[in-house]
């Protein structure tokens, strides 16, 4: 059992320093150095070729779109873009790469020296980005054996479909001065990157698919010490919540060790989602020696100033600025905005409002009804077969009084089932509200006759009883009535 210290006690004696390495898988159609498809979930080894299998004599050629994405990411992170830079071979022996090296960048990253400003609970933090470089993903290993883990595995199976998928690795400088907020700042940073990649449309950033992965370096220094402490690198931190949990746990573990007079071992650790703890990984005494050298099979990338400026002009509004603008436009508080971001509804709401819907209604449907249906179907909100235009159309029908919320829900159901546009569903299903007072009055009279005791109470002035009658009428009208109008009619009869 690992000793851990209370979080408050950690902060009393130590200052944390964190560093984050985030890998973003680019959503290009083809791989970084060959034309193989990058589609997720294909039959094993059906997306490989001599280049990504590292067969002798094959030669890589750089994917222009990947370079373009790398530059746009660099610019969005306020980085300098290197006017000239080479790829490098990172040599290591592990079967996830057949070549025995990963093509990466070493001392000439395409983007360097940037920054990101974050607001965490009202406090501003500047995260310095040391570099963002291009590299390729590795193949997928499956360990076969009783434990399913590498220890005790009898053999391993390899699928190289992912090998060669373009990655951008974004590395921060040590983040200091965050104190108790270190875990939240880290989480806010990763969340910011996720929003940014989405806004740039360079990656689908699905953490559950591994298209955004995070390694967290954590160290503690005694309060007032000039030097940073010894750090650990925690891998496998693959959700926003895990970023926060892993850092909190490491701070508490290291704090207990140091207070006890022990030393933190510089090592790689693995985060365990189930227990919220980290465990020691690779226990190599000597540091990795990757023997980087310039990749002789690729020529340098030298983006012209014109190209860089052209790409700069395509940058979307920064997520923080956009969020602030939309919060004001939609009159949404911080909590509401968090919900919107959590379900990934920002774009859809914006487009729905642009199509004429009231912001309040657009928010309500996307964050409530539609997010629930996406969740039930196990798909992302934008994958639902309904467009912002459809939602705006439903909102317009509600505003005009043709639909109430209950009927609107049925219209959504119809649109999602492929029954056509909102209007078509309303017509086909006969969902419009009955505005014919004659039919409504008839239903009101029936309800009153069927519930004489309730009617008597309303006559006595007990208006809270009216809900029961309205309910009866709505039921009789199959929900296709304006509840406000029904109320008026009931009161006309009994008031």
């Amino acid at each position: 059992m690992t000793e851990i210290l209370d979080y408050d006690d950690v902060l009393e004696s130590f200052d944390p320093a964190i560093g984050l390495e985030v890998h973003v898988e680019l959503s290009t159609a083809s791989k970084m150095f060959c034309g193989c498809s990058t589609t997720f979930g294909a039959e094993p080894n059906s997306q490989t070729c001599p280049v990504c299998l590292g067969l002798p004599g094959s030669l890589p050629v750089v994917n222009a779109k990947a370079v373009e994405s790398a530059i746009r990411i660099g610019l969005a992170l306020n980085c300098q873009i290197a006017p000239w830079g080479r790829f490098a071979r990172k040599n290591y022996f592990y079967p996830d790469m057949t070549k025995n090296f990963q093509t990466s960048q070493y001392d000439e990253p395409i983007a360097h020296d940037g920054w990101v400003d974050l607001e965490v609970e009202g406090e501003m933090f500047r995260i310095e980005v040391e570099r963002a470089h291009m590299e390729e993903d590795a193949g997928k290993l499956t360990h076969v054996g009783t434990s399913g883990r590498i220890h005790g595995a009898e053999y391993s199976l390899l699928d190289y479909n992912r090998a060669g998928t373009p990655l951008i690795e974004i590395v921060t400088r040590p983040i200091l001065g965050t104190g108790a907020k270190a875990p939240q700042v880290a989480k806010a940073y990763v969340s910011h990157l996720r929003d940014l990649m989405r806004a740039l449309k360079v990656s689908d950033v699905r953490m559950e698919h591994g298209s955004l992965r995070c390694d967290a370096n954590i160290s503690l220094a005694h309060k007032g010490a000039q030097e940073l402490g010894i750090r650990t690198e925690t891998k496998n931190v693959n959700s926003l919540r895990s970023v926060e949990r892993a850092i909190t746990f490491e701070m508490r573990r290291q704090g207990a060790l140091l207070l006890d007079g022990g030393r933190v071992k510089q090592e790689t650790r693995h985060f365990d989602e189930a227990t919220g703890t980290t465990r020691s990984g690779r226990s190599k005494e000597e540091a990795q020696d990757y023997r980087y050298f310039a990749e002789p099979d690729l020529v340098p990338i030298a983006p012209s100033a014109e190209w860089i400026e052209e790409l700069r002009a395509t940058l979307p509004e920064q997520p923080v600025a956009r969020r602030k603008r939309l919060a004001t436009e939609w009159d949404a508080d911080e909590l509401a905005m968090r919900d919107i971001v959590a379900v990934g509804a920002m774009d859809m709401i914006e487009e729905t409002v642009a199509a004429g819907a009231p912001p309040q209604a657009a928010r309500k449907w996307w964050v409530g009804e539609l997010a629930r249906r996406a969740n039930e179907g196990g798909v992302e909100l934008e994958e639902l077969p309904i467009t912002p235009r459809d939602v705006a159309e439903v909102c317009a029908l509600v505003v005009s009084g043709e639909l109430n919320d209950k009927l609107a829900r049925q219209v959504f159901e119809g649109v999602l089932a492929g029954e056509g546009s909102a209007r078509e569903v309303v017509d086909a299903r006969g969902l419009a509200i009955v505005s014919d007072d004659g039919a409504l009055k008839e239903a009101v009279d029936k309800a009153i006759a069927a519930n004489p005791d309730v009617a008597a109470r309303i006559r006595d002035g007990k208006h809270q009883a009216i809900g029961a009658l309205i309910g009866q009428v709505m039921k009789a009208m199959r929900g296709q009535a304006d509840a406000g109008r029904v109320r008026e009619l009931v009161l006309e009869e009994l008031g």
Binding site: S30, N63, R149
Partner: protein
């Protein structure tokens, strides 16, 4: 600076080459000759000679992001010593973590 047998042993380890002590001792002076030859070339290069990593002064050789046909899984696996379930089968990996 002369290359030692220890340097060779370390490099051999990194390159997964199994060399005996005698082989390391024999290779050290041989590699040293190669390195000192490179040093001679490096000594000639002054600041006015730009660094060169390619025989051709090319940059930005790129292709469009277009998918081209891949090998079939059968073709991809055809040279593998062992396969299972459409995947390459490799021996258990010791002392490393995934």
């Amino acid at each position: 600076m002369a290359l030692t047998a220890d340097d060779v042993a370390r490099l051999a380890g990194l390159a997964r080459l199994h060399l005996t002590e005698a082989e390391c001792a024999e290779l050290a002076p041989e590699l040293d000759i190669i390195l000192s030859s490179v040093d001679q070339v490096a000594a000639v290069a002054r600041d006015d000679i730009p660094m060169m990593t390619h025989a051709l002064p090319l940059t930005n050789v790129m292709r469009d992001d277009v998918v081209t046909p891949s090998l079939t899984p059968e073709q991809a696996l055809s040279g593998a010593p062992a396969t299972e379930d459409g995947r390459f089968r490799v021996p258990q990996i010791l002392g490393e973590d995934a």
